[in-house]
């Protein structure tokens, strides 16, 4: 039996009612291993205006590169109650922020190793299907250079849209989402 997958639709302007009661900002609190980091930034529309009605979901491996789900069969340790999942709405200025631990490397296609990264799902009013993108880390230059997914971005000028910029002397990264125009974020069809 083959069924037609249900069509996606927009979260609409009132997404806060349904999707924010279970929001998760502090992913790091249940982690015992790894470097605690903060990632923050803003979301902008095609006119450069902040998007106040967006929701971003994050999914990542723990510090050892293991996902907290039975779907990950790697022989690596789980980390306590660390779920690897975050759900954060933007505020009136289009800002989001969350704390987590820096993820470890996980396998890629074939025998490749992926650079540390976080998978991002973007939802907002005006968006009929959520978009997937990724956050890599500016202090992982060597690993990023060999990453099989970053390697698919042929226009080198667009790669920085996928890289969180580490603040000097702080465990903090800045990563913005731009829907259109100069610096338009790379989104993936996966």
């Amino acid at each position: 039996m083959t069924l037609v997958p249900t069509a996606s639709s927009t979260v609409g302007p009132y997404l806060h009612i349904g999707l924010t009661p279970l929001q998760v900002h502090d992913i790091a609190k249940d982690a015992s291993k790894g470097e605690k980091i903060v990632i923050s930034g803003r979301v902008f529309d095609g006119e450069g205006q902040p998007v106040p009605d967006a929701l971003i979901e994050f999914w990542q491996a723990n510090a050892d590169g293991k996902y907290a789900t039975p779907e990950d069969s790697q022989d690596k340790p789980l980390d306590g109650k660390f779920t690897g999942f975050g759900r954060i709405p933007t505020d009136k200025e289009g800002r989001y922020s969350f704390s987590t631990v820096k993820p470890g490397a996980v396998p890629g296609p074939g025998n490749t190793l992926q650079a540390p990264h976080i998978l991002v799902c973007v939802f907002m009013r005006g968006m009929l299907r959520h978009l997937y993108t990724r956050i890599y880390f500016s202090d992982e230059t060597a690993a990023n250079a060999n990453d099989p997914v970053l390697g698919l971005v042929e226009d080198a000028g667009r790669k920085p849209t996928l890289i969180g910029e580490r603040a000097a002397g702080k465990a903090e990264y800045r990563w913005d989402i731009r829907m259109q125009g100069e610096g338009e974020t790379v989104f993936f069809d996966c």
């Binding site: 039996m1 083959t2 069924l3 037609v4 997958p5 249900t6 069509a7 996606s8 639709s9 927009t10 979260v11 609409g12 302007p13 009132y14 009612i17 349904g18 999707l19 279970l22 529309d45 095609g46 205006q49 009605d53 979901e57 999914w59 990542q60 491996a61 996902y67 907290a68 789900t69 779907e71 790697q74 779920t83 690897g84 999942f85 996980v106 396998p107 890629g108 296609p109 992926q114 998978l119 799902c121 009013r125 005006g126 968006m127 009929l128 299907r129 959520h130 978009l131 997937y132 990724r134 099989p148 698919l152 971005v153 829907m179 259109q180 125009g181 338009e184 993936f188 069809d189 996966c190």
Partner: protein
């Protein structure tokens, strides 16, 4: 990784495009550049086990969240969460939100001049059972105007948020009601060009779950992306 089976990509027309000009808000919020096609890696093929510990026993009854009964037409909404191969998806978080019976959301952005209902917030959640079934008790939402175009009215609808087994099966969608005269005029409903896919967003009236002297029943099954037949490594 060779034993990892990826998820099917949706058939043409069964999912909306990001840019759908009749839905005006999509014009400045759809990417201009084409998406970069990538293989599904362990990252995409896994996803959170999420929400189970945060669902209370009454969270699937939107009529029991306040001191009094909400106004409007009471309804029982149930169905199953399935994958494309017809297999049930058990133990998965289902979240819903909706307007009240008058077509008003308790949200600062909603300026529609219709009454708020102090006994209705319009938010519920549950987890599917071992057979992928879910069930909510709620109030039939009202239609409301939304200024997208002249005389624009949203059909009655309920928003759904689903996870499934991985981040590739993540879905946010809307459920509509059979026979709603506003459906042919709604650009959000009509952004889906494949008629089968569009019609699958419409629930069915369900006499089996209708409760005498209490509430009408509606049935709606939700289908998430299914796994491909072959491991992704073999497709290259």
């Amino acid at each position: 990784m060779s034993d990892v089976i990826g998820y099917k990509r949706p058939a043409a027309g069964t999912q909306p495009n990001y840019l759908h000009a009749p839905y005006q808000s999509s014009i400045k919020r759809a990417p201009n550049k084409p998406l970069i096609r990538m293989p599904q890696t362990l990252t995409e093929l896994t996803g959170p086990v999420y929400g189970h510990d945060r669902v209370g026993p009454l969270d699937n009854d939107l009529t029991k969240q306040h001191a009094g009964e909400p106004l409007g037409e009471r309804m029982i909404l149930s169905g199953r969460l399935l994958d494309e191969n017809g297999r049930p998806i058990p133990h998965s978080l289902v979240e819903i939100w909706q307007a009240n019976a008058c077509g008003r959301y308790p949200h600062p952005g909603d300026q529609h001049d219709a009454p708020l209902d102090p006994n209705f917030t319009g938010y519920g959640r549950t987890v599917t059972d071992a057979e992928g079934r879910y069930r909510f008790v709620t109030i039939k939402p009202g239609a409301y105007p939304w200024r997208n175009h002249h005389n624009a009215w949203r059909p009655q609808h309920i928003h759904f948020s689903l996870f499934g087994p991985s981040f590739m099966t993540r879905l946010v969608t809307q459920m509509y009601f059979p026979g709603d005269p506003l459906l042919p005029f709604d650009p959000i409903f009509n952004c889906v060009t494949d008629q089968r896919a569009r019609d699958s967003m419409v629930s069915k009236f369900d006499f089996e779950t209708t409760i005498p002297e209490f509430a009408l029943g509606y049935h709606w099954d939700i289908v998430l992306r299914g796994r491909d037949a072959t491991p992704m490594e073999n497709k290259k």
